[in-house]
């Protein structure tokens, strides 16, 4: 448990003599800058917002501010303080703006929880029934996983969720699982769960949208004379006819051998194969002579 001291005054950019009006003003200014609604998918902004929300939670409440000023740096003694003053039983009628949309259970620091007893210690001034917070998570898949529709079980806030991942999901794509976010406030609906997929490059096959790209080594003789080769694709091994006089770097398209099209079952992109012609090495004297002879021919 990391319980570093948090300087709430510094977080809000105010000094210790700040009035409630100064605190409110500083909070509003920073909230407008870091509110998650204004900074979608920005983890740093979310972290900053949680800190300023927490700072405001403490400093805008006279009782909490007093306790923080007295025990902040020595939070270890907070419990003794609790017992002595039975702080939790005191009620506060203080009203403050409540940034409900982005704050949920577990959003307060360990430092806050040690002093004030967790988010239960936070006040809610507007008793509105809001939908719960949306959760964001990242799921890593390899290219082969993304190639087929499959099920996965995720653990989100201690709960198991079984989801079906449709074939063709793309790197960076986000899907929404409705109702699996945070619980609603005062009977409001649950938030949603957003899963962003991270699919690293495959060592041999690259993907762009629904098309796949791969490189195949081709020996010089087959490139010159033509022939047949077998290549690995995500659909299995495929035999290819190589045309005579195939050039280095030339590309062929295998229609329908690419990636499945997302939510369009039975439809696939294309596979592009680029030939890399390998020049033979360690030639014998006889082979070199044959090449010399060939080089004397007119093309």
């Amino acid at each position: 448990m990391n319980m570093n001291f948090l300087d709430y005054y510094k977080i809000l950019g105010i000094d210790k003599t700040a009035t409630p009006k100064d605190i409110k003003s500083a909070y509003r200014k920073l909230a407008r800058k870091y509110h998650p609604d204004l900074n979608p998918n920005d983890k740093d902004a979310k972290r900053n917002f949680q800190q300023i929300n927490e700072a405001n939670e403490v400093l805008s409440d006279p009782e909490k501010r007093k306790k923080y000023d007295q025990y902040g740096k020595n939070w270890q003694h907070a419990e003794e303080f609790e017992k002595a003053k039975q702080y939790q039983q005191q009620s506060s009628n203080y009203q403050r703006p409540d940034y409900s949309g982005a704050q949920s259970e577990g959003d307060f620091s360990d430092f806050f929880e040690s002093l004030f007893g967790g988010s239960a210690g936070a006040r809610r001034s507007r008793q509105a029934n809001y939908r719960g917070q949306d959760f964001n998570t990242e799921l890593h898949l390899d290219l082969l996983d993304a190639f087929k529709t499959h099920k996965q079980t995720l653990t989100v806030n201690g709960k198991y969720i079984r989801i079906t991942i449709p074939a063709g999901i793309e790197n960076g794509q986000t899907i929404k699982i409705p109702g699996h976010g945070g619980h609603g406030v005062n009977g409001g609906p649950n938030g949603d769960l957003y899963i962003t997929f991270s699919i690293p490059n495959h060592p041999d096959i690259k993907r762009l949208g629904n098309d796949l790209y791969t490189k195949v080594d081709l020996d010089l003789f087959k490139a010159v004379l033509g022939g047949e080769i077998t290549i690995d694709t995500l659909k299995g091994k495929v035999k290819l006819k190589v045309k005579p006089e195939t050039q280095n770097g030339s590309r062929i398209k295998l229609k329908g051998m690419g990636f499945p099209i997302y939510k369009n079952e039975g439809h696939f992109g294309d596979l592009y194969v680029t030939y890399f012609i390998k020049i033979p090495t360690n030639l014998t004297d006889k082979q070199k002579e044959l090449f010399r002879e060939l080089s004397r021919s007119e093309f």
Binding site: A31, Y130, D134, N171, G188, N201
Partner: protein, 98 residues
């Protein structure tokens, strides 16, 4: 056929402690759509997430309607640009060496 879930505007305002005039202003500014059935206003549940965002902007961040309109426009642009960045990053990976 997809089922639509409609929320009565009056009930929504009562449960969120907000004025009906705020919802009307959002509609007048083209930020939400109100469906009227037998003279009663309803909000499609699909708009709930966006609507609650507007409420937070207005009541909690003190942003006026003009500000909300501007922010909404900019957030849409951010969304599009983020999609474009993902697409470009994926395209770039095609040229990255292992």
């Amino acid at each position: 056929m997809q089922t639509e879930y409609l929320i009565e505007v009056d009930k929504f305002c009562a449960s969120h402690n907000i004025e009906i005039s705020f919802i009307s202003s959002l509609e007048q500014n083209g930020l939400i759509e109100i469906i009227t059935i037998q003279e009663t206003g309803f909000i499609d549940s699909g708009q709930l997430q966006q609507l609650e965002k507007y409420i937070r902007f207005y009541y909690e961040l003190d942003i006026n309607l003009e500000g909300i309109e501007t922010i909404t426009h900019l957030l849409r642009r951010i969304d599009l640009m983020q999609d474009e960045i993902i697409m470009l990053k994926n395209r770039l990976r095609l040229y990255e060496t292992e």
